[in-house]
């Protein structure tokens, strides 16, 4: 596929155009951090950001979501949410890949998640390559970066004041055709520079951590391993790792009586919370902290690959950096990979 390019100024125009036609989610700066936010002004957009502290998963799987309402007299009503055409602009390749991981899990028949699907279908994802990856990242392990991920429709890579545009899906193609006059075919010089850049970024990442991820399947057999006991001692069972993870999708439902009807909501939950698997009888199949930590790693690195043929981790490094007690998934990768 041919690569296109777009200049800095024209990219600005592109963003403005998108903003006028669609709901635009893009990184903005707020209180010393970046976050994805629905833009109210296209000039707020930040393109040289590192990464957002919280993953963009919340745009597709909100922390609290209404599933249906039940009227004792009328029965169940499912109020379909209105989703206008949206664009998630400037997401990092790892987070974009997380969406494709979620796609493989949540859109797999027969248990398809309609709410996720609706939002996902209506949202075009445009990613922005990481040419200067952060220290915590290890996206190379799962081939989810640093230049291109797996879940985006368009990939933008900044090379010297222009952006190389790679069209990844037919939907991406559509966008490019819509704004055809802004994009030009990338020149040879730029492409050379682009190649060098890709190589350097990949090499840089490979120097940090390089493992054979196929071997991670073996984690399935390592329950009770001392490594998890040691980490469990340290773990304080907050759920920062799963709440900030772009992939973690576990949920909990709760019913509320609201006036004349009941509403069922769904919201985030996490396997590191001690009550997650506790049953009404008092039995808890994962009763110790070590069990829960093991489960989280094993689920991401071994069980999801076995069931869905993709990895449950994209190497964004949020859990590594935000964990108050320094529990490090990279240690698991090194030990078993």
């Amino acid at each position: 596929m041919t690569l296109l390019s777009i200049t800095d100024e024209k990219l600005r125009i592109f963003v403005r155009e998108l903003f006028s036609k669609r709901v635009l989610f893009a990184p903005v700066k707020r209180n010393g951090y970046f976050e994805f936010s629905r833009l109210s002004n296209p000039e707020d957009i930040i393109l040289n950001y590192t990464n957002t502290r919280l993953s963009p998963k919340r745009l597709f799987l909100p922390q609290r979501q209404l599933l249906f309402k039940y009227y004792p007299k009328k029965g169940v009503t499912q109020e379909s949410e209105e989703h206008s055409n949206a664009v998630l602009f400037g997401v990092r390749p790892c987070d974009a890949s997380a969406l494709s991981v979620l796609d493989s899990i949540l859109l797999k028949l027969p248990y398809k998640d309609n709410f996720y699907e609706n939002r996902r279908r209506e949202t075009i994802v445009i990613s922005l390559s990481c040419i200067k990856p952060m220290a915590e990242c290890f996206c190379n392990v799962f081939e989810t970066g640093p230049i291109r991920g797996t879940g985006e429709d368009l990939t933008l890579t900044p090379v010297n004041k222009v952006f190389i545009v790679e069209v990844r899906t037919p939907r991406g193609m559509m966008i490019v055709e819509d704004f055809g006059k802004l994009f030009t075919e990338a020149g040879r010089e730029i492409l050379e520079e682009y190649k060098i850049l890709i190589r350097e970024a990949v090499n840089e990442m490979d120097r940090r951590l390089r493992i054979d991820k196929k071997k991670l399947i073996g984690l399935e057999k390592e329950i009770g391993e001392e490594f998890f006991q040691l980490n469990a001692q340290r773990c304080i069972e907050c759920s920062i790792c799963s709440f900030t993870c772009p992939v973690c999708y576990c949920f909990e439902t709760e019913d509320f009586l609201e006036g004349d009807h009941y509403s069922r909501f769904r919201g985030w939950d996490t396997c590191v919370h001690p009550l997650f698997t506790k049953m009404a009888s008092g039995l808890d199949p994962r009763s110790t902290k070590a069990d829960r930590i093991y489960h989280r790693f094993c689920h991401k690195l071994s069980r999801i690959p076995l069931a869905f043929n993709t990895y449950g981790c994209v190497g964004c490094g949020r859990c590594v950096s935000l964990c108050p007690t320094g529990i490090d998934i990279k240690e698991v990768l090194e030990k078993w990979g």
């Binding site: 004792p72 009586l257 006036g259 009941y262």
Partner: protein, 634 residues
């Protein structure tokens, strides 16, 4: 699914003008939990409730008048189902100016009630605790004996715990009682023997309470039986042993004025009439053993422990009299002829050491006698601040006794305020004293001196005339006030009851719960509750008995509204202990425990617990938060 019945009362149609009941019903019927709404005309009519055919498991919201009135109407429902009362009359219909306002307020109140009753837990049968229908009375003075007899006559077993060898207390030591001047032991003696005879009364003399565990209805009391060296089962009170005993000792009953043998019976009317040995004076010669035909004497006797299981406890251990040695200006113990009123009672008594003649220690008859009132009362240290209650009347009685024995005697009473407030006191005591020529001097004498002849000189200032004076008399009698004994403080600690600033046992409420203590099931009577006379002590004894009987008759103790610790939750942080104003929560191991008899159900603990590890009926966060959200929903 929890279904709710809402009963709306129009209060005999009077509320129809204030509240739009149709609107209220319509609003409430939107709630899927509400199964049935009934608009009733006067819910307080018993026929209406009967016709409703309410299910025992139902949750009911009653919207009518104040819960204080409704709870009486719904007595039968309260016991087995979840009922929530919503006040739409006083709090709503009668308090709002406009009909619309009242209607919307009623809906809000009702939504709160519905939300609360959804979350309520029905009372459990395990909330009721059984009662041991036996009582313990600590102290066998007039208050204790009166109390024990009244409980026993109602058909319940009573244990009297008495520290002395015989019951009777102070009253047994008195010569005459005021205001009628009749013989004290002649009135009390029959009462004591009645107690001894009563099959429901178990008198345990020479004993003391060591520890008390448990709660109202089920106290476990450990009693220590001090050795008397005579087996009470075998002793028949023949007195042969005392006849041969070679050792004399002062008798406490006679205020140490008249000696008895080391093996003795405290007084002739003692109950039980058994001999005891005072080991402090016994020389263990064994003569008594040799004459006792029933082999009742065992000089190797040891203390024994006894465990009693009782449902209620009455504290009636009395008080001590003030020790006049603490007032050195009166030289008691130093000057022979300064005596206490208790010593006087024994001296003037016909069976006393002098056979009823008022003699001085030097053998001369006392002709001029002075009484000093308020010794150890109505002052701060060393005495107590309260009035001794009895000593005005007692000294007037004693003055009259002196004159009855000797018409020529001259009696002076140094008083502060003369308090002749009781029935017959004014007439039978005060007026007759004036008629008999007894001289009342308003003064608290500053000193007693001794004249060279051995007479006493009372130095005083008459506060009516502001004149100083000195009065020479043969004898001074000190009218002593009450002082709580050390035993009282110890017993209060064992029972967990509180004492007031003077050291007497504190009642729950001075006005309407005067004999109930902080600990439920523990009552107080007599002078350990505060200074009082015989009549008042007997009244309190009977009154305490009534409380015990009503507890025993009342069926089971309901604990549904008492704070309970959920042990699997409690982390033992102790915040509840800090919050409890009644000291009803104690630490036990790494958890805490509620003393059920002390808990007042205020709920300060449940709101101080960070994790709701304490519950109190249906007043938890769950219920109240739910009620709040109902009240605020639109």
């Amino acid at each position: 699914m929890k279904k709710i019945t809402v009963l709306l009362c129009t209060c005999g149609s009077t509320l129809l003008d204030n509240i739009d009941f149709n609107m209220v019903s319509r609003e409430l019927s939107r709630n899927p939990l509400v199964k049935r709404i009934e608009v009733l005309d006067g819910i307080c009519k018993s026929s209406i409730i009967k016709n409703l055919k309410l299910d025992a498991a139902e949750r009911i919201v009653v919207a009518a008048c104040s819960n204080r009135l409704l709870e009486a109407v719904f007595k039968s429902l309260l016991s087995f189902s979840n009922v929530e009362f919503v006040n739409i009359r006083e709090h709503c219909a009668w308090a709002c100016r406009e009909r619309e306002e009242a209607t919307s307020k009623a809906i809000r109140l009702l939504n709160g009630g519905i939300n609360k009753v959804v979350r309520s837990n029905p009372p459990q049968s395990s909330d009721c605790l059984g009662i041991v229908r036996e009582a313990m009375v600590v102290g066998g003075g007039i208050a204790g004996v009166r109390c024990a007899l009244d409980i026993a006559n109602a058909g319940y077993r009573v244990y009297i715990i008495e520290k002395e060898p015989s019951i009777g207390g102070i009253m047994a030591q008195l010569d005459k009682t005021f205001p009628t001047l009749d013989c004290s032991i002649c009135i009390e003696g029959p009462l004591l023997s009645e107690a001894g005879r009563n099959k429901n009364i178990v008198i345990i003399p020479n004993s003391e309470v060591v520890s008390v565990k448990g709660r109202v209805g089920d106290f476990r009391v450990l009693v220590k039986l001090n050795p008397t060296y005579v087996d009470p089962e075998k002793c028949n009170g023949c007195g042969e042993c005392a006849n041969v005993c070679p050792v004399y000792q002062p008798n406490k009953y006679d205020v140490d004025l008249k000696p008895v043998k080391a093996i003795y019976c405290p007084f002739a009317q003692a109950v039980p009439l058994k001999y005891v040995i005072n080991k402090d004076h016994c020389i263990e010669c064994g003569l008594c053993m040799s004459v006792c035909t029933r082999a009742a004497i065992n000089l190797e006797d040891k203390p024994k422990m006894l465990e009693l299981n009782v449902g209620a406890i009455v504290v009636a251990i009395g008080s001590d009299l003030f020790d006049p040695r603490h007032k050195p200006e009166y030289h008691y113990g130093e000057y022979d002829n300064v005596i206490t009123n208790m010593e006087f009672e024994r001296i003037i008594c016909a069976s006393g050491p002098t056979g009823g003649v008022l003699l001085r220690r030097d053998g001369k008859p006392a002709k001029r006698i002075a009484f000093i009132q308020c010794v150890g009362s109505r002052e701060s240290a060393p005495g107590i601040e309260e009035c001794s209650y009895y000593c005005c009347a007692a000294s007037m009685k004693e003055a009259r006794l002196i004159l009855e024995h000797d018409r020529d005697a001259k009696v002076f009473i140094f008083y502060n305020e003369l308090r002749a407030f009781g029935k017959g006191w004014e007439d039978l005591l005060y007026r007759r004293c004036l008629e008999d020529g007894i001289v009342f001097i308003r003064s608290r004498p500053s000193e007693i001196r001794r004249s060279p002849e051995g007479n006493l000189i009372v130095v005083y200032e008459d506060t009516l005339t502001s004149k100083r004076g000195e009065l020479e008399v043969d004898m001074v009698i000190l009218a002593l006030g009450f002082k709580p004994s050390n035993r009282l403080a110890k017993l209060a600690a064992v029972l967990g009851v509180s004492v007031d600033s003077q050291g007497f046992i504190e009642e729950t409420n001075a006005k309407f719960k005067p004999l109930e203590t902080k600990v439920r099931g523990v009552y107080v009577a007599g002078t350990c509750h505060g200074p009082k006379d015989i009549v008042e002590s007997a009244v309190e004894g009977s009154a305490a008995a009534a409380l015990v009987i009503s507890l025993f008759r009342g069926g089971n103790v309901r604990l549904s509204e008492i704070a309970r610790i959920l042990e699997n939750k409690c982390a033992g942080c102790g915040k509840c202990i800090l919050a409890c104003q009644y000291d009803a929560i104690v630490r036990e191991g790494d958890k805490v425990r509620v003393l059920e008899s002390i808990c007042n159900s205020c709920g300060a603990c449940i709101s101080s617990c960070p994790q709701e590890a304490i519950s109190l009926g249906n007043w938890g966060i769950e219920q109240l938060a739910s009620q709040i959200s109902g009240m605020l929903s639109d």
